[in-house]
């Protein structure tokens, strides 16, 4: 290896920028989908009917105990044999939603189960129906309690999206790999990509902390 040459990598900034945007877009969609799926599954496991809670339990354990890349390969390479074909981008988002949904379900469940009984009884005594009790009294403070854990999980999912490049989704690490396969500046390309991931993680964490207070559980 000769001297470090960052110019050879930085001159490819449009590709890196496109990759970073794809990573952020994948993460944004996965976050929205994963949170909805997580809340639904968290409710099902904590409050839902027994058969549903058991089914969700199987899903959660299956996803949490297998590697993300296997889930991704299953969606992209496995499902076509059943006649279901996705583009690499759709397959990536789907795998990320399924993955985040399972982890988010357990995080949300922890929040729900930490709700004081008195609060629920008080809500019921005000003649709120079960949906109102869950959506207005239980869920917002539950999410508030577990939001830091949720934010960490979302950041993990964003960083995990680096493997989506393996199925030709043109996200950030794919672009870094493509650049280093063209100019063989592997070390420089990965340092630059790492710096971008670091900035995006810090930004995402701050953004989600703010968004949580503002939109999800704050008053």
């Amino acid at each position: 290896m000769s001297h470090l040459d960052f110019a050879a990598v930085l001159v490819q900034w449009p590709a890196l920028l496109r990759g970073a945007l794809v990573t952020l877009l994948l993460t944004a969609i996965a976050t929205a989908g994963g949170l909805v799926l997580g809340v639904a599954c968290g409710w099902a496991r904590a409050w839902g009917p027994k058969p549903l809670a058991a089914a969700v339990g199987v899903y959660v354990e299956l996803i949490r105990n297998t590697p993300f890349i296997v889930q991704l390969f299953f969606v992209f390479f496995g499902l076509p044999s059943l006649g279901v074909k996705f583009t690499p981008e759709i397959a990536s988002v789907l795998a990320m939603v399924i993955n985040l949904g399972a982890y988010a379900a357990e995080i949300v469940r922890a929040g729900i189960e930490g709700t004081p009984r008195g609060q629920i009884e008080a809500a019921r005594s005000l003649a709120m129906n079960e949906w109102q009790v869950f959506l207005r009294v239980v869920l917002p403070p539950a999410l508030g309690r577990v939001w830091p854990a949720m934010v960490s999980q979302i950041v993990i999912v964003m960083l995990g999206s680096a493997v989506c490049g393996q199925i030709a989704t043109a996200e950030l690490s794919y672009q870094a790999n493509l650049i280093q396969s063209r100019n063989f500046r592997a070390f420089e390309a990965f340092i630059v990509a790492t710096a971008i991931y670091l900035l995006m993680s810090i930004g995402l964490r701050h953004g989600l902390n703010w968004a949580g207070r503002r939109f999800v559980f704050g008053r």
């Binding site: 290896m1 076509p80 690499p88 063209r182 592997a186």
Partner: protein
Amino acid sequence: MQRRTLVIVAALCASALPAFAQTALDDVLARKQINIAIPTDFPPYGFVGTDMAPQGLDIDMARLIAAKLGVKVELVPVTSANRIPYLQTKKADLVISTLGKNAEREKVIDFTAAYSPFFQAVFAPKNVVVKGAGDLAGKTVGVTRGAIEDMELTKIAPPSADIKRFEDNNATVAAFVSGQVQVLATGASVAGNMIARNPALSVEYKFVLKDSPNFIGVAKGEDKLRLKVNQIIAEAKASGEIDRMATKWLGRPAGELPLQ
């Protein structure tokens, strides 16, 4: 926080700084072991047999060179995408991994004489009409990122061709076999193996991308090691060893191989 990040980055950079002296051959002889990067996803050049041990033409070549040097061989499995970084970071002394030669690669590593024949081509099912590069317009083409066929394809494919680049040959072939891409650009050996395993796809050869015999890669400036390996290759050619290997794994003798 920022300062700490800077320190870490600086430490990483320092650890990547190279030793410039020509020491590879002496190092190999001193430790009585040579680390050779070989493929494990590229039959018949390098693949994992039923006994889980690597085998193939490249592995035979690696063993031959180690034997002639009188040292033990340590096989280091690599992919198309990471074999050159392995050489640059001295995780391998030699890369014997169906490595083709081109100008971009010659800027960062050196090459010995060629040791085996190879060519890259475009493949697709019979009912997909592809006569030349122009016919790739509007089609999805799978290729392994960073491989020679990726470079060639990128040069000649029309802009509307949708090139999907995968991490390694296994992923590229899996994407083609599962129908995620319509056309496959890969080496003849990978395609031959895939065609033999999937007769139902009725895949055929469409057009050649590049004739590119395989060379052995050595770190930039390691001339002592490179000349020693060249000498071993020349002797193996003279003794018929190179042709025997090609016949065993590729079904035909090596023929004329370039020295440069």
